[in-house]
């Protein structure tokens, strides 16, 4: 347990510190969302209609930005070897590092998202659903992302390959998450959407840990 806390503390600390990925993700998220009104026009009706999609796509891209650093830095400085022969089995190691990624990127997005949604004129009834979808859905982004990060560790041009691998797998998360917020906007029940989203996240956790551990083992060879 001590090892888990040690690793979690180090990774989150490194991300939140200067030069870490948290600030980058927050800035990217805010910038991307504020770009949209310039594109689709400031009209409240149009903005509100696209608001869930815009917030979610921006959150998805922001969390993907810091994915390739998840294992890459440890691979480069030799820590990955020591982590792999440490007390934690590889899938658990992946779980801890992915939770660290989630804490260091998704949590800050959770705080910023409602603020940005205001600029997109999102109806007030939809905010609880927006937050709920982010809380339930962003772990799936991290765990599916962990597969891409592990597969592309140590490769040149990893960023492009990572997005090509990960984005198609993000489709269900995006659909159910924005579905929930849309339902809230139109006064429908958001429960079914959020439950499907939860199911997708659970699958992502299980598949993510296994696949990322297998992929890391490849690069440790």
């Amino acid at each position: 347990m001590r090892s888990i806390l040690a690793l979690l503390g180090r990774d989150v600390g490194l991300s939140w510190a200067a030069g870490g990925s948290t600030r980058l993700a927050l800035a990217f998220f805010a910038l991307t969302v504020t770009l949209f009104p310039f594109g689709v026009g400031p009209g409240a009706a149009t903005l509100a209609k696209v608001a869930p999609g815009v917030v979610w796509v921006a959150a998805l891209l922001a969390s993907m930005l810091s994915l390739d650093r998840m294992f890459e830095t440890d691979f480069e400085d030799g820590s990955l070897d020591l982590l792999a022969i440490g007390p934690l089995p590889l899938p658990l190691l992946v779980l801890v590092k992915t939770v660290a990624h989630w804490v260091s990127t998704a949590l800050p997005l959770l705080v910023l998202a409602p603020v940005l949604a205001i600029t997109l004129q999102l109806e007030s009834t939809a905010y609880p659903a927006l937050l709920a979808s982010l809380v339930i859905g962003t772990p799936a982004l991290s765990f599916i992302g962990a597969i891409g990060a592990a597969l592309t560790t140590g490769l040149r041009r990893a960023g492009v390959l990572l997005s090509l691998i990960v984005l198609p797998l993000y489709v269900p998360v995006l659909i159910f998450a924005t579905g929930a917020v849309d339902a809230a906007r139109n006064g429908f029940d958001t429960a079914p959407h959020l439950m499907f989203l939860g199911a997708v996240t659970l699958v992502a956790v299980v598949v993510g840990c296994w696949a990322a551990a297998a992929a890391l083992r490849l690069h440790l060879e």
């Binding site: 090892s3 040690a6 490194l14 200067a18 022969i85 440490g86 440790l220």
Partner: protein
Amino acid sequence: MGPNPTVQTQDGFEARSLACRRAGRLVFEGLDFSLAPGQLLVLTGANGSGKSSLLRLAAGLLSPAGGALLRAGVDLAKDRDSHLADLHFVGHKNALKPTLSAAANLEFWARFLGDAGNVEQGLDAMGLGGLADLPAGELSAGQQRRLGLARLFLRPATLWLLDEPTVGLDQASRTRLADAMRRHLECGGMILAATHEDLGLSGGVLELERFAPRTALEEWL
């Protein structure tokens, strides 16, 4: 607890017709060695002859393509954890985070490997006492190498696996390392080291070229 010749392999470390395949290519085969408490074995051979591969096999990072590695008579494949709990592995890279201070880096590895361990003892053993609070990134290459080696002193471990430990060390640090290795051997420790430099320590030599794959064209898939 001096070296006890009669209990040769009882709690030693040995390889029996070991073969290693790295990313599809056979590196060596039919390799045998046995290391008893108190003994040093130096691996020599040209680059690519498999020195690092053998050390990674011994550290459990790679699984053997053939033959077996035994610790205290027990095959690593059967009981990997007790082997990993009682070894230190120092690879080419130093596993340091540049933004963390020297002490913080060691502190992390101490807590991750499961017990507080004493960071001060590690720093002093490699003469880094005064640099504890400096970010690791600002240390010189030699100092960073010493910080990597300082991990050896965080907690006792019988088996040391060292990959080119003296690279980048000045003469004073080299003798400091040699003394530490001598002390380790005297109290029943075992060392498997890949190095080109004569450390002034008596020990066996394992010529890896002798175990190059014999089949002219191995299974060509």
